[in-house]
Symmetry: C2
Subunit: 331 residues, 2 copies
């Protein structure tokens, strides 16, 4: 998300939903990049509907990260920046405002045509640009390429959409290489690890192309694994956020540790931060919460932070060659 | 809490509670200073009972701060370091392990006798030393002083006990001055502001006396008020932690702001941190969450952080002379 670009906050839709439902107490939840817009949006909604507005101040990194405490206090909640995740009980009161970007993708896709070496191209993006994938596909087809835009699993709202923790839309069907439309690094890197294919990043905000290069992340992950090979005491981290909680997995990992003669403790928490783990003296952590954590905050924890699969590599249950990003998959 | 001192974690009691209740899934929650003890304690409980143990990794600053997400996942929870707070539904599954200190208080109280100038002395402390107040009282009486150890309101478990957000045990009955037994600064400062009386601090860990000097805090609070006098946009912060939530107060403050022609937005969150408020561009914040926040983290927020009473001073509804610490009181 770059400054100055227009995102669609769907204020007219929000106001009409509030009027139609007659809701008087409204929650608003924004990811970090949109939080600064919250007072302006709250103010407009308040003026036009007379409703009471509460704004979530908690960190928010995905649709998995619904503010359940705020949900408890409001009649309906608008969650910005992410697509609807799952059909669970919690989200019945939640309207997902995807805040799609109006940035044009055609120019950068035209640039990409000459850089693509394969014939069959998988198109992927985040929810902010998912409505522009057909534009991209037409351009590729005009230039003689074959395009696939695959539906993901049940966690994925739109064909071609990837999350930081779910690359199922890229794995569903074979293709020669991927074209990722968006500005971030994390999603295309995940796709390149999940598929072992080349991923070309087309950034429509700056009209630039680059290859997803996973060599640095692979070195970091290898280092985390290597540092954990002698670990005797593991801390298994579980987030209690409903969309991120993998307690059953944590308990499996704990049993696995025991079978290998290692100690393991399960630490539950809401937001997982390096500061908050500082007091727990273990040789290595295993993260079952948001998969981005082990990757994005690498080096900021006082002990190595492994993904569940890396933990299995440490124990010798899996091979280094198996290494991919951790995912939270659906059906 | 100083290192090396012995605190009573009541492991035998914990093990017998687990055996008596037959609970198989157990939660443990510790304040920051005791978190490093958690693996050792979990390990012993696991060995002796065979139960599954989950350790809360969330920050914990009081009995107000029960880990409700963990509570949802366990049959019973042991909460260390704080006394039972209220008789609410949540705490029915919680056993409060007060982790009392075995440090002797007699020597430092003997030292204090000569420094006390009044005749009628109010004795106050935290739960870690509350069982030693009678020792302190006998020494004062031997030296011809009159002692009072008052019951607080419904938030206070023991006579003479104060919390960082509740000084009711000090306010209940008149006395000439206070003797506070403990190592911290915050509680005696709160008592001195709440009562406008001298508070002598007797630190039993290092056998030292000092006066609670509230001049620095008063200067800081005055500065926060002064910086907020021109504020037009206020962010009112509400914690969703059940023991800290004061939404009704927040809504009152918001109406009050409106009556004075000011804008105010309500931000709800679990843990309140300077980082987490960074994205919200307001001229001043008003903290209705844990009262320590505005005081302990002074200067770390990007806009002044006021207590509710200070906000009323800013609006001209109260006088500067009225300034005391914010409290969360009971009945």
């Amino acid at each position: 998300m770059s400054e100055g670009e227009a995102f669609d906050f769907q204020l007219d839709r929000i106001i009409s939903v509030i009027k139609d439902t007659g809701a008087k107490v409204i929650g608003l939840q924004f990811p970090e990049g949109f939080k600064r817009r919250s007072p302006g949006i709250a103010s407009r909604i308040e003026k036009e509907t007379g409703s009471v507005i509460f704004i979530s101040g908690n960190p928010c990194f995905g649709a998995c990260d619904l503010d359940v405490a705020l949900l408890d206090k409001v009649e309906i909640m608008f969650h910005f920046g992410h697509a609807h995740l799952d059909d669970n009980k919690l989200s019945q009161k939640v309207y997902f405002i995807e805040t799609r970007s109006d940035v044009d993708v055609k120019d950068v896709v035209k640039l990409a045509v000459n850089e693509l070496t394969g014939q069959k191209i998988g198109l992927i993006t985040t929810v902010q640009h998912v409505h522009k994938l057909e534009d991209a596909a037409s351009i590729l087809k005009e230039h003689g390429k074959e395009c696939i835009i695959c539906a993901g699993d049940s966690k994925i709202a739109y064909p071609g959409q990837v999350l930081g923790c779910n690359f199922s839309a890229a794995r569903k069907e074979e293709c020669d290489e991927y074209l990722y439309i968006g500005s971030g690094q994390f999603h295309p890197l995940g796709v390149s690890l999940a598929t072992k294919k080349r991923v070309l990043i087309a950034d429509p905000f700056v009209n630039e192309l680059r290859d997803a290069d996973n060599s640095r992340i692979l070195r970091q992950r290898s280092a985390a694994i290597a540092k954990s090979l002698d670990a005797e005491v593991f801390g298994i981290v579980v987030s209690t956020k409903p969309g991120q909680e993998r307690m059953a997995l944590a308990e499996e990992l704990k049993s696995m540790a025991k079978e290998h003669g290692k100690d393991a403790y399960i630490f539950t928490m809401d937001l997982v931060t390096p500061d908050q783990l500082l007091q727990f003296k273990v040789d290595a952590f295993v993260n079952t919460a948001c998969p981005r954590l082990a990757i994005d905050e690498v080096g900021r924890f006082h002990s190595p932070m492994l993904t569940p699969m890396e933990f299995e590599i440490v124990l010798g249950e899996k091979q280094w060659e198996d290494l991919v990003f951790d995912e939270i998959t659906g059906e």
